[in-house]
Amino acid sequence: MPWYVAGPLIGLFVPALLILDNRVFGVSSNLRHLCSAVLPSRLDYFRYDWKRTGLWNLLFAAGILLGGFLACHWGRPQSVAISDETRLALTKLGIHDFSGLAPRQLFTWSALLSLKGLASVIVGGFLVGFGTAYAGGCTSGHAISGLANLQLPSLIAVAGFFAGGLIATHFLLPLIL
């Protein structure tokens, strides 16, 4: 799918959700809703009516999962056509399997037993959870909804997203891989 189709389509979820019922597009709130629903807790942060505030969004997330399933069972199997420079840089770091959406050397259950698999999946996932909760949003909530509504806090958050991503890519990954 070319960028000029994908990007505008992603942007349209903002008005679609607002018009449907004043819902603000953002996926990371679901992590909070899931904690609130699954883990009994005395913490104020998780004590709210998650069904009333978050049921719509949990269904949206369930839809994303289903959409991922449909997308990969419909049409040609995907091999991601990244640029030659990226391929070369990753090969130098020891990545040699370029099939699929994520490298199998890092993102399989058996790879969890290795340091690099653990760092990617478990440490990466943990930081995604902690970081989005602290920042109050992720790529959808801040970079798209927030910037679209001209929110300064979201601009600061997005600068942080890229600072963190650059640090991890250029300093942490060479140590881990």
Partner: protein, 153 residues
């Protein structure tokens, strides 16, 4: 929250509206996967500045969303049930939560090669180990809830 006068249930919690959210999610999951935004390889390419693709996708998404929001405000567009559309502003506070939380999220984004939406899409597309990443993200979210009273915002 708008209510449905017949049942006194919030409009958004009625069956049809809930199905609409599920279907919108399905569409979003398909776009994320087919555009390869969910790919660790694409995220690496982005953070190495070796292709404009991810930047073009994010920028055009923001432009379309921003124009839509501006039009909604200017034209006074209402929700499907006739309520005025209002987007709650984000409170700046000290700004620390955005800078520090954002940076920590960015570290995770590059390590896992996925942000929250793509994590769900990847599980669906067969990268099932991302279930472990989601569970770990829940642990991270819980830790934030635990530490929140002590953290600067």
């Amino acid at each position: 929250m708008p209510t449905n006068p017949d049942t006194d249930q919030p409009q958004s919690q009625t069956g049809i509206a809930l199905v609409a959210y599920l279907l919108l999610g399905v569409c979003f999951g398909i776009v994320l996967t087919k555009s390869e935004v969910v790919s660790w390889f694409r995220i690496q390419e982005m953070f190495r500045f070796q292709s404009p693709r991810m930047y073009e996708i994010i920028a055009s998404a923001v432009v379309v969303a921003a124009v839509s929001v501006a039009l909604i405000k200017r034209l006074g567009v209402k929700t499907a049930s006739g309520e005025p559309i209002a987007i709650p502003p984000k409170r700046l506070g000290l700004g620390v939560r955005y800078a520090v939380g954002g940076t920590l999220f960015g570290l995770g984004w590059a390590l896992a090669g996925a942000c929250p939406g793509p994590l769900f899409a990847l599980v669906g597309s067969g990268v099932t180990v991302m279930v472990a990443a989601i569970v770990s993200a829940l642990a991270g979210t819980w830790l934030y809830g635990f530490l929140r009273p002590k953290l600067p915002h």
